[in-house]
Amino acid sequence: MSRSNKLKAMFVCVSLIFMLAVPSLAQGDTIKIGLISSLTGSVSTYGQSVRNAVTMAIDDINAAGGINGRQINLVILDDKGDGTEAAQAARRLIDRENVALILGPVITPAVMAVAPIAQSAGIPMLTPTGTGDQITTVGDFIFRGAYKDSFQGRIMAQFAIENLGLKEAAIIYDVANDYSVGLREAFKSTFEELGGKIIAEESYSTGDTDFSAQLTSLAMRNPQALFIPDYYSTAGPILMQARLMGMDSVMLGVDGWDSPDLSALAGGFEEGGYIVNHYSADVDSQVTQDFIAQYTAKFGQAPDALAALGYDGVLIVAKALEAAGSTDPEALKQALGTVGNIEAATGTINMDPEGTPIKSAVILKITGGKWELVDRIDPIGR
């Protein structure tokens, strides 16, 4: 070991001691929760919404006296929407911060990087927003606050056939993203099951910006509808390029489209599109309306679905902590799988031991630049 390495090692030791010592001094009797969110990167509006809503919900709980008399101490880390960064954040939360529970990450690829780490460490984890089907199959410590992709893909296909009366559709999706691939499969199988026909499919890879080749191929088939299962940062440019190409198909989307940045990235061409989402601001529930009012007053903009899910994630966790009566991982895990009747911003939530809540979805249409509630769909079984 060279001299500078020794110095570095000493520095690391000293800082570790501080990191271990400071929380234990300040902690008293608090519950430590880690939040991994994508505050920067290609899906930054998701992470910021989640962070805003989570801090707001936790401040409320703390102001009301905490959970069973204990205050919640929140540690927030940024994963940039990236799996590797998310895994590092998870290691830090588990090994150094000794959190009782991990909230997050936000998007499915990041969640899939964290879930095995949380599972093997035996730390309960709840992603408020991750929809990939495979998330909750990682293990019994992994929970989510949102519906699954197979559910939302099925809902969109059903809506397209039964309500919009469509018979044929095309799909453009990201082969390199589990979320996009999962949604494509769910949509396709239900659409075909119900007698519809997928007449063309094209794909691209994460990070691509030029979709003109794929869209020209699709435009050639002149599909009635185009399903674009991706995040706003990619769906936006695809929508713009498709419309400029003269495609007049009905555009069908998913919860990933929900972002204040969608309109700018789509150049206004998102108008008339339909999405499946977790919540609508038009839902006439007291909890939802209170949440919208509080969030808007605090952050100066109306909450999107990601914010609502972040808020609800805290409500689920709070109820579970209360029921468990301690931060013991086993007890907390049991509680997370059984708490129910939670009146939350996205509707009534009943958790399930398999990790996915039973709750409703909504269909929204972009009309005059605003999301309008078109339909509300109750869960079919699970």
């Binding site: 920067t40 990167g41 290609s42 930054s44 509006t45 940039k80 082969v175 094209e202 794909s203 691209y204 890879s205 990070g207 691509d208 910006t209 030029d210 003109s212 080749a213 794929q214 020209t216 191929s217 435009a219 050639m220 002149n222 940062s233 936006g236 440019p237 713009m240 390029q241 400029l244 190409m245 003269g246 940045d261 700018a264 990235l265 789509a266 150049g267």
Partner: protein
């Protein structure tokens, strides 16, 4: 839309994309011609150009053409400084040292951009209305026209500079024989700076065009186009100016036609497959031959 018309449409899309590759490839090839360096930070200059354009339009409230000029000038300055600070001190070192420095500079630009501009995807301010011009069975968007127009204009300008100005003559002289040019009284440092300035300005123009066309910019946007433009430069014959244009257009068209004929998943792979095939038969690139005049 019948098959052959779709192919024609893909050809137009391919030429638009190819023009962008060509503009970036010109910078690679000019720098290589003159100091035998693959400037891996070139793709990031293209990214910086897009951001400079973004801020020129949003903060300085400039319209498209002045914004493009400001961005090209700023990128030219960055290119000159990059050469002055990072590459010149290593000019007499081994070529691998400079190459690694170039890769380091690329990462530095990306991380700095992420820090300064933010890591989020930014929508590009759309300074032009959207228009679609129908040409018989196919169409062309006004953004594609803008790409063609600007690309052709810049290429003609570059051609005039390289062939008919004193700087251009000096560039060609340095490319052929650095020592002899020095003996003839050519200020080599200044000529190398001029080459970096020209190449960087072209890349910045490409960055803005792409921002307008795809409506999305981010700090990592230079990676893939940078790599593909490098391939385009090699494909056409690295160090040869018209080669970069031919290579760029060919890459753009090949990528788009693959989607019509085969699968969109193969798109990126095909770009590189084309390179391998061409190099098997013409190791010096399409336009390359031994002892050719280089810039």
């Amino acid at each position: 839309m019948p098959w052959h018309i779709a192919a024609l449409q893909q050809l137009i899309n391919g030429l638009a994309l190819g023009s962008v590759y060509a503009l970036i490839a010109l910078g690679y090839t000019m720098v290589y011609g003159i100091i035998k360096l693959i400037n891996f930070a070139h793709g990031d200059i293209y990214m910086l150009g897009a951001y400079f354009g973004f801020y020129a339009i949003t903060m300085l409230k400039l319209s498209l053409v002045p914004a493009m000029l400001v961005s090209m000038a700023a990128a030219a300055l960055v290119g000159v400084l990059l050469e002055r600070i990072a590459y010149r001190p290593l000019r007499s070192s081994s070529r691998i040292a400079v190459l690694i420095t170039a890769i380091g500079a690329s990462l530095l630009f990306q991380s700095t951009a992420q820090l300064v501009f933010g890591a989020s995807f930014k929508p590009f301010p759309q300074a032009l209305p959207f228009r679609r011009i129908q040409l018989g069975p196919v169409f062309i968007t006004n953004r594609q026209l803008l790409i063609f127009g600007v690309a052709v204009l810049l290429m003609v300008l570059l051609h005039l500079i390289v062939n008919y100005t004193k700087v251009g003559k000096a560039m060609r002289a340095v490319a052929i024989d650095k020592e002899a040019a020095l003996l003839m009284g050519v200020n080599i440092d200044r000529i190398i700076s001029a080459t970096f300035a020209l190449g960087s300005a072209l890349a910045a123009a490409a960055g803005i065009l792409v921002g307008m066309y795809y409506n999305r910019i981010d700090p990592y946007m230079g990676m893939m186009p940078g790599l593909k433009a490098f391939v385009a430069a090699v494909l056409g014959g690295i160090g040869i100016v018209p080669g970069a244009v031919v290579g760029g257009l060919l890459m753009g068209v090949a990528e788009n036609l693959v989607v019509t004929i085969g699968s969109s998943t193969l798109r990126d792979a095909v770009a590189f497959a084309v390179l391998i095939v061409v190099l098997l038969f013409r190791p010096n690139g399409l336009l390359g031959k031994k002892g050719i005049e280089k810039v």
